[in-house]
């Protein structure tokens, strides 16, 4: 190993108070050499990187403990195959971290290279044989039991092949020997079970075979939703500024679909006019122009231009009448739809239903021009205001009254709604377009279906409730159940007044719990597993994890009165073997520690009596669903 590349060298002592020397991280091994002329001469230590199974950093102290698998270390003192530890002390925590970061990177790279080689072998073998063989070359799910977590070996392989993230996790946890194969898969299974009632929004329409097909093993994991961008689309158009002519419009099919989904009126106009009355291109030119017109009008209003200036600045909108007609038709259909009010009432979360409050107001009583309220713009006065504006802006723009003053707000709200529905909304539009073009004459019926998704009352009604992901209780038929659920959803919300629910612990055998916490730190919460309470597992590693466990202890439930925080912290430090080794030197007979030692032997899973304490090395763990 003489030719190996030295990556980083730091001054370090072998063990606290041990001989002085230098620690070098090289490309394939970790090397500690005693400093020449040191008062305490020590032996050179060389640890092959491949043999390192773990490293632990002490909190706030420049210490690290390297765990070495007990086979091929060169330390002659190593008796047999039991794991060996080396403790190094650095000059500072920063030094220690710098060295270890390099070390971690190198080991990770090595592991990845190994894995790739193993996978390559596996892939080649699978391709050749077509059948999973027994005990293949590298690490693979085939090694595990025939059934783990309710998944057959075949299913497991499929799931790993489909889901890159899951695979990475598997490699880390099972490959890294943190979890057993069975534990890992039962964790996945419980996570799937928890994810079954889809937790949010919308699902990808793409997915091919639809949600039914995705139910298979690994399916729900696959159902990661493809979302839409938050950004409000603006059509790119090249415009001749002088003559206000739209020269060129560029639109992607996605943009078109999104425009249709967000503006049912445009869809309607499109279906009515394209291609019988005008070409696609002409249509979109008109659309862009219409949008420009609206924009300029808005600007004129916002800037409070005087009528003549406003009239001059507003873009002429000769071709926009098709959109206005369609908008009027869509609005009329929405208004005329029977059952709209009732369906609205039943669908909306009652704690958000502002319309219900409106239903308690009498007209004509109270204040008309109340200073505490906004000037009310009822339909009639809106029309009046619009008529005035129209008069001011000149006769060129007829039919302005159809657009109300909030149109930008409405468009933005509508955009948000479509984005939340995700690609489903676009797929629906496309389906409608196809249907519309296919049947041609059936134009009249189809738009009304589209109208149902308009921003009117009860929108996102039928067709949304038919979609599988509509978990929100807006669904139609078994509405009663869902409404009940919705009502339950509201509560005083004083969660902190409840007794914290006892952490639900799943038993899990981990070879080395410290390793688990270490991994947690590295993977930053990437661990999946058994269903844990919203507790400590994933949030913190090592000491912090232990702190969380202690935080969950009910002081009243302890056999002894609560300790002072200082004593508790001391106990906590002591709970990690590394710190213990330090602490044993210093504090021999502190009574608080004595008590804690006793406490540590209380059974950790006796939930009825409260969790007694944190026991290092015990075979329990609480995993958090991330």
């Amino acid at each position: 190993m003489a030719h190996e590349q030295q990556l980083i060298t730091k001054r370090a002592w072998l063990g606290p108070g041990g001989p002085e020397g230098y620690l070098t991280v090289a490309s394939s091994s970790l090397l500690w050499q005693p400093a020449p002329g040191s008062s305490q001469p020590g032996q050179e230590v060389r640890i092959p990187l491949a043999a390192i199974t773990n490293n632990q950093r002490a909190k706030d102290k420049p210490l690290v403990r390297i765990t070495v698998a007990g086979q091929q270390q060169q330390q002659p003192s190593g008796p047999g195959p039991s794991p060996q530890h080396h403790v190094f002390q650095f000059e500072s925590v920063a030094d220690r971290d710098a060295a270890l970061d390099v070390l971690t990177k190198v080991t990770a790279a090595m592991a990845a290279a190994q894995m790739a080689a193993a996978n390559g072998a596996l892939g080649a073998e699978a391709a050749a044989a077509g059948v999973p063989g027994p005990a293949g070359a590298g690490a693979g799910p085939r090694e595990g039991p025939a059934v783990a977590g309710g998944f057959s070996r075949m299913q497991r392989q499929q799931m790993l092949a489909r889901d890159v993230d899951l695979k990475a996790l598997w490699e880390e946890l099972v490959g890294g020997k943190v979890l057993s194969e069975a534990d890992f898969w039962s964790g996945v299974a419980s996570r799937l079970a928890a994810a079954q009632p889809a937790a949010w929004g919308t699902s990808a329409a793409g997915g091919g075979g639809g949600p039914g097909a995705a139910r298979g093993p690994g399916g729900p994991l696959q159902r990661r939703r493809v979302g839409l961008s938050n950004i409000l689309q603006r059509v790119e158009a090249e415009v001749d500024g002088r003559h206000q002519r739209v020269l060129r419009v560029s639109l992607t099919p996605e943009q078109v679909a999104q425009i249709f989904a967000e503006q049912p009126a445009v869809l309607r106009a499109y279906r009515e006019h394209v291609p019988h009355r005008m070409g696609e291109e002409d249509f979109w030119r008109r659309y862009v122009r219409h949008e420009m017109h609206k924009e300029s009008k808005r600007k004129a209003r916002a800037e409070g231009l005087n009528p003549s200036a406003a009239a001059a600045s507003v873009v002429d909108d000769a071709g926009g009448d098709i959109f206005r007609e369609a908008a009027a038709a869509v609005a009329a259909e929405a208004a005329a739809r029977p059952g709209a009010a009732a369906s609205h009432r039943e669908r909306v979360d009652p704690t958000l239903d502002l319309a219900a409050s409106e239903g308690e107001r009498y007209q004509g009583f109270g204040y008309a021009h109340a200073a505490t309220r906004e000037p009310e713009l009822d339909a009639e006065r809106l029309r009046l205001a619009a008529a005035q504006q129209e008069a001011a802006l000149g006769a060129a723009m007829s039919g302005l009254g159809l657009e109300d003053s909030d149109d930008l707000a409405t468009a933005i709200n509508r955009h948000g709604e479509v984005v939340l529905q995700g690609v489903e909304a676009l797929a629906r539009v496309e389906a409608q377009l196809r249907a519309g073009h296919g049947s041609g004459a059936a134009d009249q019926r189809a738009p009304s279906a589209q109208g149902a998704t308009g921003p009117g009352p009860g929108s996102s009604g039928r067709d949304m409730s038919a979609s599988p992901m509509d978990e929100d209780g807006r669904g139609g038929e078994d509405g009663q159940q869902q409404r009940r659920g919705r009502r339950r959803r509201h509560s005083a919300g004083l969660a902190d007044l409840h007794e914290p629910s006892a952490p639900r612990l799943d038993s899990l055998s981990i070879a080395d719990p410290r390793r688990y916490f270490e991994r947690m730190k590295d993977a930053a919460g990437g661990v999946q597993g058994g269903r844990g309470d919203g507790g400590f597992g994933a949030r913190a590693g090592g000491l912090a994890g232990a702190a969380a466990v202690l935080a969950a202890v009910t002081p009243g439930g302890l056999p002894l009165p609560p300790l002072s925080p200082a004593a508790a912290e001391a106990a906590l430090l002591e709970a990690t073997p590394l710190a213990r080794s330090l602490a044993e030197d210093e504090a021999a007979g502190v009574s608080g520690l004595e008590e804690n030692k006793r406490k540590r032997h209380a059974p950790p899973q006796s939930e009825g009596k409260g969790v007694g304490g944190f026991v290092p090395g015990m075979s329990f763990c609480c995993l958090h669903e991330c």
């Binding site: 916002a302 502002l354 219900a356 239903g359 021009h369 930008l408 955009h415 005083a492 004083l494």
Partner: protein, 782 residues
Amino acid sequence: MRFNLEGLTVYFPYEYIYPEQYRYMLELKRALDARGHCLLEMPTGTGKTITLLSLITSYQLAHKEVGKLIYCTRTVPEMEKVLAELAELIEYRAKYLGRGPGFNEILALGLSSRKNLCIHPRVAEEGSRESVDAGCRRLTASWVRERAADRVSRGTTEGGGEEDGGSESAVGDIELCDYFEGHERAGVEALLPPGVYTLSDLRDFGRKRGWCPYFLARHMMAFANVVVYNYQYMIDPKVSQMVSRELEKECIVVFDEAHNIDNVCIEALSVNLRKQTLEAAGRNLGKLSNSIRRAREADAARLQTEYNRLVAGLVAQGALRGGEDWLANPALPADVVQETVPGNIRRAEHFMGFLHRFLAFLRDKMASPVITSQTPQVFLHELQERVQVDAKTLKFCYDRLSSLLKTLEITNTDEFTPIQLVADFATLVGTYAKGFAIIMEPYDERLPQVPDPVLQLSCLDASLAMKPVFSKFQSVVITSGTLSPIDLYPRILNFNPVAIQSFQMTLTRDCLCPVVVTRGADQMPMSTKFEMRGDPGVMRNYGRLLVDLSAVVPDGIVAFFVSYRYMDQIIAKWHDMGILQEIMQHKLIFIETQDVVETTLALDNFRRACDSGRGAVFLSVARGKVAEGIDFDRHYGRAVVMFGVPYQYTLSRILRARLEYLRETFQIKEADYLAFDAVRQAAQCVGRVIRSKADYGMMIFADKRYQRHDKRDKLPQWITRHLKEAHMNLSTDMMVHVAREFLRAMAQPYDRGAVGKSLLSEAALAALDAAGGLDGAGAAGA
């Protein structure tokens, strides 16, 4: 938990209780024991509602002599929340009290208008409250049902010719409401089993049994232990006389979120007449005259009977059929005259003439192009001079008109709303000489370009409407998160509470982070002061603030603007500047609009966006509907921004009249009142994000004026206590830094070391009780 509070066993559905909740209960219990009214302020986010419910239901359980709990809320969403919390409480109580009949039984229901309760497929679809009411009446009025019964018994198919062009006769058959009939058929058997019923529960139940939920709820009010309804059902004499007349004196009446109660009171006694109203009232008169003529020809006896009845006196009027469900007299019950109707309007024709004259006078007044403001005396004098209508007769207008409408068997009452409004106006003007003003505004001064003449009868004295409530019920509880200055309320509502208390919040961690942002990152001051709000620089800075915030704050953000108009303007501007697009890089945007249905939908989508982790910004208006009743708790609101100081529109004539009245009667300075009102509103808005102590949120006051003492002092204490000196004059970038730090600290797991300090356990309470009560419970206020 179950604990003993000075001898009262209280059931509280949690394992712990905040000390201030305990104190609140103590204060409330003492007030109930003393059978008096009380005024309690407790910060938002400390669980007022559940505390109230828990104590009062426990009190009811221990003291059988206490009547119902009448819980008044401002909005329907709040009503739903109260009922949901009550349902939890009752469910929890079963643990101690057992289940089954006779143990833990309670009947609680929400009551709302027909518009919200009707399940008739066609009527429920009507647009406004009035039209649903009328649609219902058309199917359920006593004469309609009598006629139907008559026809059934006679087996004839002859249509009723005398009704005034109603659609039923055209159909040739009389339509009735199945649900109403089902309810009537069941008679006294139509009972709700014990339980907690929200509006949708009532509808479900009604549908299942085939009973009308509205009438069922009205009927069940007599048996209920808890009734939750809107303020107006208690305060507004028109409605309360119809709904709440039967309630017994021993009831405990609670007004929650009552910081605006004075405004509700004055609006309850105010009437406005628009130009369209007067025109429509004129048409109504024509129609009524026709009906009278036809009635005279077809059935003169009926009009004669009415005349005789009027001669005999109004006392008999209550017995008039068809009167079950009309809006009652707009005047307060104590002021309703119990005399016979004056001779000059007893005959229907004479009454029509009288109304014609009055209407002509009103039209004339409305034609005035300038703003005028008159006292009732001046108005009446002028009326007498010009059209010889005297005040005494005016008083009877309401009664005379409703008698006439009933005599003519008119069911489409919504069509006749305008003339009813005129009659109400007349009755109020005739009844009250003090505390009112008659104001004529040719247009809303905020929109001078839109002509909208309004003749406003404006009540100025909030105590008028509250007086019957205070005198009728033995315990009235007025409570809110922001009742400061608390001593103002007894004065403007004119009552003597046995307890006035303002409670503080005990916090173990600073889960509120109020900051005042006065400048943008470019150090330009920010304000919505009139001369600054249009400045593009200010608008841009406000926009940048929101962009920066949306990059830092997880999940939901709420922003409140001072008015719709300003919001519209600024959104258009932000759209131009590309600020909206920038915000959308981080979060979706939803906006409150004037259309309530759309706003509801936007709120729903906002929540979905927060739930899904996408995060969203909700743009709303400080005095709008969202600010009034929607919570943005937990991840729905991690930051709230108040853009500007939400002053009322100070140039409004109506407000001026009110301010003058306040100054003359209570020596309250105008500027003080306005500032209080604005800051109270702002506090209310930012308080929307905190719903419990485990919750947390940034509260950003973005206006340089909040830095000033006179504004800051008026913020409630629970905000000022957390407002650090260093956070009173921040620029946007400094604020973002503060937000980042705050949110990182707060996102840590909630430390439960608070037990004993900000949380009391059952054992602690027992110890407390044994030791003789909470030390310094009295000193807790102040």
